[in-house]
Symmetry: C2
Subunit: 342 residues, 2 copies
């Protein structure tokens, strides 16, 4: 009897100890929304390799740079890029001052809500829309317009503000990297000023760490005060081959980690991977139609032309040792407001 009692006590203590250990482990897990797997382990291995003093792949804190694409990597980009929705919404708002738009393409199709016609818009059509909706006002006024829009706009499927549609697992990666001395930069094909409006609040990324596409601005005076006037002229395209160019221009250091989700991120990952030492290159694959979206050739699905992940990119990822993140398999939770994982 006494022996059994002692044994029971020992078992209880053992289980208690185990539970305690597990509890501590869960609290210490920097990536709780990630399922255990190659992707999660790859991130942890990279951080350990670059931040452990004495490690042959140790990186000085001032060189710890990680770059993140935005659309489709940090937040939802389907069925349409948020910034494209913003531009189309803005055509409706500005139409009151432009009665001629009713008979003038591409505005006519936008105002008529003709989805079929809009789906066929060329780059030239979009350039006209961007010029009409993103230029002709001061940068300060533009920021206010974007702020207002972000407060009102709702995603058609999730019926939430776009700034709610950020991926919890990626927020955890950013936090984890920052906690380990990395600076996290956004390197987006989207508009630099557009993304700056919410980067601090949503991603804890200050505006000076947002690298993006931009239109020209011009120093001018309004009521005797200097302003920066947005001009209808492309200044820099931070996409594809533009991403390494933008990284060098704005940061001047090669990233140690880069995260993308589409063919637009190929060169950023190549550039990152071409550096010495430990480097981390990751691509988010949208393969979860239930919780988010599934699309693109790399999934064996049609190319929706928004955030295309081609088979060629998938092949390159395999040959160069880049890690593909499966939303379906690697992520326990998609959005911060999603039900927590069990």
């Amino acid at each position: 009897m006494r022996k059994i009692a002692l044994l029971s006590f020992a078992v209880v203590a053992l289980i208690g100890g185990l539970l305690f250990a597990l509890g501590v482990r869960a609290a210490d897990d920097p990536l709780p929304s990630w399922n255990d797997g190659a992707a999660k382990q790859g991130i942890i291995k990279f951080v350990t390799a670059t931040t452990t003093e004495g490690s042959p792949t140790f990186v000085k804190p001032e060189d710890r740079i990680a770059t993140f694409d935005n659309d489709g990597t940090l937040w939802v980009s389907h069925p349409l890029y948020a910034q494209a929705v913003f531009a189309l919404d803005r055509v409706h708002v500005l139409a009151a001052k432009h009665p001629e738009w009713k008979g003038q393409e591409p505005f006519k199709s936008v105002l008529a809500g003709d989805r079929e016609a809009m789906a066929k818009f060329t780059e030239g059509d979009w350039a006209i829309i961007v010029a009409a909706t993103h230029a002709g006002i001061s940068n300060a006024d533009f920021i206010e317009v974007v702020k207002q829009w972000l407060g009102q706009a709702r995603h058609p499927r999730f019926e939430r503000p776009y700034t709610d549609l950020v991926y919890q697992p990626m927020l955890e990666v950013m936090d984890y990297l920052r906690a380990n001395g990395f600076r996290t930069y956004i390197v987006t094909g989207g508009g630099q000023e557009f993304v700056r409006v919410f980067s601090e609040q949503v991603y804890s990324v200050p505006v000076e760490q947002v690298v993006g596409s931009s239109i020209a601005t011009k120093y001018a005076y309004q009521d005797g005060k200097p302003i920066l006037l947005r001009e209808p002229k492309i200044f820099f395209v931070d996409d594809k081959v533009g991403k390494p160019v933008g990284i060098n221009l704005f940061i001047g250091k090669r990233p140690y980690a880069a995260f993308g989700n589409s063919d637009g991120d190929r060169e950023m990952l190549e550039w990152t991977g071409a550096g010495d030492g430990a480097r981390l290159m990751m691509l988010v694959l949208h393969d979860d139609a239930t919780r988010e979206f599934a699309y693109g050739p790399a999934n064996g699905l049609p190319d929706t032309k928004i955030g295309t992940f081609s088979q060629a990119l998938m092949d390159q990822a395999k040959s160069q040792g880049w890690t593909v993140i499966s939303m379906k398999d690697d992520w326990k939770q998609i959005f911060p407001w999603d039900k927590k994982p069990d």
Copy 2:
């Protein structure tokens, strides 16, 4: 006798105490190379106003941005900009591969050392020289070339490396601002990559805080590895109206303090001064021919076309409350290696 001895003791103690107090005070002086005066007091007043909690002009640490022009503000720009000397030196080096240059302007005059002809070079001539000396190689190779040049080149008057010719009082201002939570950016009309080569070592300014002029770079492959190839094409001119544009593009926040020395800095100071709260705008006046140089219309001297400080700029400084720093009167010491002030 005893009384006198006691008195002596008291006097010695008093003097000792005073000396000790003075010693402490000198050690605490964040700007020891500055003479007491409006300029020094203006800097200290600004830092106090922006960093004292509860002050109506308190600035959150993340918004504490200070911008510094480089040529003539942080280091010597006379008799010629260092980067122009670099370009001319490089023409000589590259001439071996370009026998045709001997008969071809503007190279012919450079190779002949024809100072009179060089003084008359147009912007077009300089553009040809920049294209020949700054482009056609990878960015990584360019950085190596600049490093080598900086190690070898000597200033004609001071017979020291250009990186020795930085102003001790301005180094103190940068240190003082950083110690108070400001981030110090260089905003230069000079080449961004050129200045990045020495910004960290000389000014403790990391490369990502150097905003400058740039030529276009192109993503390309060399021996199967990606490179950024420098192209003979101007991308961005970070001078005059370009400075506020560059500040917004690279930093996205309006500076609270801006330092310049020439007409090229006018818009940067205007842009800074147009913000709310406490702002500090300063211009270095080169009026010390003995210890450095004296030049320019604002001194009543001829315009040497390098770092022009016009009378119009001086008038604007007065009307807008910008502080003019007299090298002669405000600075006890010019260079870090100068004899220390008494």
